[in-house]
């Protein structure tokens, strides 16, 4: 995993390929078969364990994901925050807690899909692949946090420049090439997840209830445009 060739393949070709597939795939699917965009909830079939699995998982994973994005967008502020040991520790513990929450929730959700016969009925092989990918990603993330601590600092200092170099189409691999295997695995898995998104139920992340918060409570559709009400 350390030759220059594999490094460029994994950290240059892979991310561009994943993003290309992601954008093209999701847009194509949204326009071609919008009917398949759904959360595909199974709460209707099983309610109790759904709560104990899906709620911790979503809150955990979304918090952790947001933290990654913040470190990508605001590296200087993160580093300034980390400059005091107490604040660094607090951030580290919080991150770990939410990651654990995600792991516990994910395991709960997988166990539920495995053991409840009704829920199993609406679970496809692809669903299992997604769940396994997520499990690997959450687990490697946790291992990185435990074995290579102070991630908030080195992410902001090392990975953020790498990611921005990708954005600017001028990839710089110095930091990732020297990164530990666990970190590399975590990064590659992230690209895999982004790449498979258009072909899985993960597209439901993209259909957050956007206009809902601002729109009026009632929705009316006209076939003929009504008189403009002054």
């Amino acid at each position: 995993m350390t030759t220059p060739f594999t490094n460029s393949l994994l950290f240059i070709v892979f991310p561009y390929l994943a993003m290309f597939i992601f954008f093209l795939g999701t847009i194509w699917r949204y326009r071609q078969s919008p009917f398949t965009y759904s959360s595909l909830s199974s709460q209707f079939l099983e309610n109790k364990r759904h709560f104990w699995g899906l709620v911790p998982f979503h809150y955990g994973i979304l918090t952790v994901l947001t933290a990654h994005i913040v470190a990508f967008l605001l590296p200087r502020q993160i580093l300034r925050w980390d400059s005091q040991p107490f604040r660094l520790h607090a951030l580290e513990v919080t991150g770990l807690a939410f990651a654990l929450l995600a792991l516990v929730g994910l395991l709960g959700a997988m166990l539920r899909r495995l053991t409840n016969s009704k829920v199993r009925e609406v679970t496809t092989t692809l669903d299992w692949m997604v769940l396994l990918l997520l499990l690997v990603q959450v687990t490697t993330g946790l291992c990185v946090a435990i074995f290579h601590p102070w991630g908030s600092a080195w992410f902001a200092a090392g990975l953020t420049p790498y990611l921005w170099s990708l954005v600017r189409f001028n990839p710089e691999l110095a930091f990732v090439a020297a990164a530990p295997v666990l970190v590399k695995l975590h990064i590659v898995m992230a690209y895999v997840l982004i790449g498979v998104t258009p072909f899985t139920r993960l597209v439901h992340i993209l259909v957050t209830p956007n206009p809902y918060l601002w729109r009026r409570p009632q929705v009316v559709r006209w076939y003929r445009s009504p008189r403009e009400i002054a």
């Binding site: 078969s33 919008p34 009917f35 398949t36 965009y37 759904s38 959360s39 595909l40 909830s41 199974s42 709460q43 209707f44 079939l45 099983e46 309610n47 759904h50 709560f51 899906l54 709620v55 998982f57 979503h58 809150y59 016969s117 009704k118 199993r120 009925e121 609406v122 496809t124 692809l126 072909f199 899985t200 139920r201 597209v203 439901h204 259909v207 209830p209 206009p211 809902y212 918060l213 729109r215 409570p217 009632q218 929705v219 009316v220 559709r221 006209w222 076939y223 003929r224 009504p226 008189r227 009400i229």
Partner: protein, 496 residues
């Protein structure tokens, strides 16, 4: 004034015989697909009873409908911010157990069973998992169980009844029940539409039919919890919500909805109401006791020149206005005031109205003979076998005045006709009853005609939909109906 038109309905409960033909017609046309087996867009409940899904009227349990919080109208089940937090797990979501697990029977076993000592049986298998199941509930599970301590006594509408009234309802020799057919009410202030985070649910501007855009629905399930009538259903197979579409493909082509068309007792009426959309929010926020009057005041007189002018300005076609003028629903609801909305206290402004049912005649025994008359004109309504308070809890937001008015008028019409045709009732008494029920002889005749002698065209005054002015359907919408539903041009495909 913002005049809009709404295809509205009246169900005349005094004529309902509880045959479920409506439910079957609906099921065969619309919910015969995988994932929809458990749905009954149209169902007929026995009252008192727990209904479908079980105890749907118990909003302490399901949190459906609207409530007024600090003078502002808001959904009971969710708010805007709450929706975001609850999107991963909806705390008010009913599950399949609240409806029932659909099943079929292993009929093949009857043919393929190896020779043995016992007769082979066709055991029930779940239509979800295909495994053998123990049936614990099913469609119309409490059908006709009027006096049942398990079902009827759990009816949420028994709230507020005195112990005497309850005892009367459940005394074996005086058991009573009536039927309560239900479809989507196509409300003016639909809770399902307001709760939808995706904006997939909408009310059609031209006719008020409430629909789910299957391509925009993301399966967040807020509508299922928000609808207080539990007429939003989650298709567990496609991951989308579905609901009664008022057979819009039929209505658009001038045919009555299937459940209306097939109704054996001819209890169903359909017609256009014109209403003032600008006042919905204000009127839906009124105190519960005023809601019935408030909703009536929303409905506009289609003969009023001012209303007609405002309707035309809003783009309502003259043919629709003419249809509104002939609407049987307008007569029942606004002119005669004998059709009442179900559970108006949920504040969704339902546009399906019910004529409350008359009870069997109360009689008493004296000196070995049965007497069923009294000097009081309306004694059997006051001492009705179905307590007025029970009916009022369903059709009057707890206020029995509206139900009493409707029942008195119905009885007066009967006695008026009896005096005319049978002659065993004194004409003077009948006239006195009409007067007491605030009903003129002409009105009584009109009620009698529309109730008893109504033809197909009297019952269903379907407005022309002018689809020629709308977006044209290019493909055959029926092609994939049995597999994916109406309007699908590609095969059924569950999201990846």
């Amino acid at each position: 004034m913002d005049v809009r038109s709404q295809v509205s309905m009246v169900f005349h409960l005094d004529k309902c015989i509880g045959c479920h033909t409506c439910s079957i017609a609906c099921k065969n046309i619309w919910t015969d697909r995988r994932g929809t087996e458990y749905m009954w867009w149209n169902n007929v409940e026995t009252k008192p009873g727990t209904g479908f899904p079980t105890d749907w009227e118990d909003q302490e349990k399901y949190h459906g409908g609207w409530e007024v919080k600090n003078g502002k109208l808001g959904l009971r089940s969710t708010g805007k911010a709450q929706t975001i937090f609850n999107i991963y797990h909806n705390p008010s979501m009913p599950t399949m157990d609240d409806y029932y697990e659909p099943w079929t029977y292993d009929y093949q076993h009857l043919f393929n069973a190896p020779e043995g000592k016992d007769q082979p049986t066709a055991r029930p298998i779940s239509m979800v998992t295909g495994e053998l199941i123990q049936i614990e509930a099913g469609p119309n599970w409490d059908d006709d169980l009027g006096g049942s301590p398990v079902y009827a006594e759990s009816d949420p509408n028994l709230k507020g009844l005195t112990p005497d009234q309850r005892a009367q309802l459940f005394a074996v020799e005086r058991l009573v029940m009536f039927y309560f057919p239900r479809i989507c009410n196509h409300c003016l202030n639909p809770a399902c539409v307001a709760s939808c985070p995706s904006g997939a649910l909408y009310k059609r501007g031209e006719d008020g039919i409430v629909l789910v855009d299957q391509e925009r629905c993301r399966g967040w399930r807020m509508c299922v919890a928000a609808c207080p009538y539990k007429k939003m259903f989650y298709n567990w197979n496609t991951g989308k919500s579905e609901k009664c579409i008022l057979c819009f493909p039929r209505v658009e082509t001038g045919q009555a909805p299937a459940c209306f068309h097939s109704c054996v007792g001819r209890i169903r009426y359909l017609g256009v109401l014109l209403y003032d959309a600008s006042r919905i929010e204000e009127l839906a926020s009124r105190p519960a006791a005023e809601l019935i009057e408030a909703q009536r005041s929303l409905i506009l007189d289609p003969h009023d020149p001012e209303v007609i002018a405002a309707a035309r300005q809003n783009g309502i076609h003259d043919s629709v206005i003419a249809s509104a003028q002939r609407s049987p629903v307008y007569q029942f609801v606004k002119v005669w005031k004998i059709a009442l909305p179900p559970h108006i206290e949920y504040r969704t402004m339902p546009m399906l109205f019910y004529v409350p049912p008359m009870s069997p005649v109360m009689s008493h025994q004296a000196n070995g003979t049965i007497h069923n008359a009294s000097d009081e004109l309306f004694h059997d309504i006051e001492a009705s076998r179905v307590p007025l308070q029970f009916l009022a809890n369903i059709f009057g937001a707890g206020n029995d005045a509206f139900v009493r008015y409707a029942l008195r008028k119905q009885k007066a019409v009967r006695w008026h006709r009896r005096a005319l045709t049978v002659g065993d009732v004194d004409k003077a008494t009948a006239d006195r009853m009409l007067q007491a029920a605030q009903c003129s002889p002409e009105e009584a005749e009109a009620i009698y005609r529309l109730t008893s002698l109504c033809t197909f065209d009297d019952r269903f005054v379907i407005p022309p939909m002018h689809r020629e002015e709308a977006i044209q359907m290019l493909e055959d919408p029926l092609e994939r109906k049995q597999a994916a539903g109406f309007g699908f041009v590609s095969g059924p495909r569950r999201g990846l």
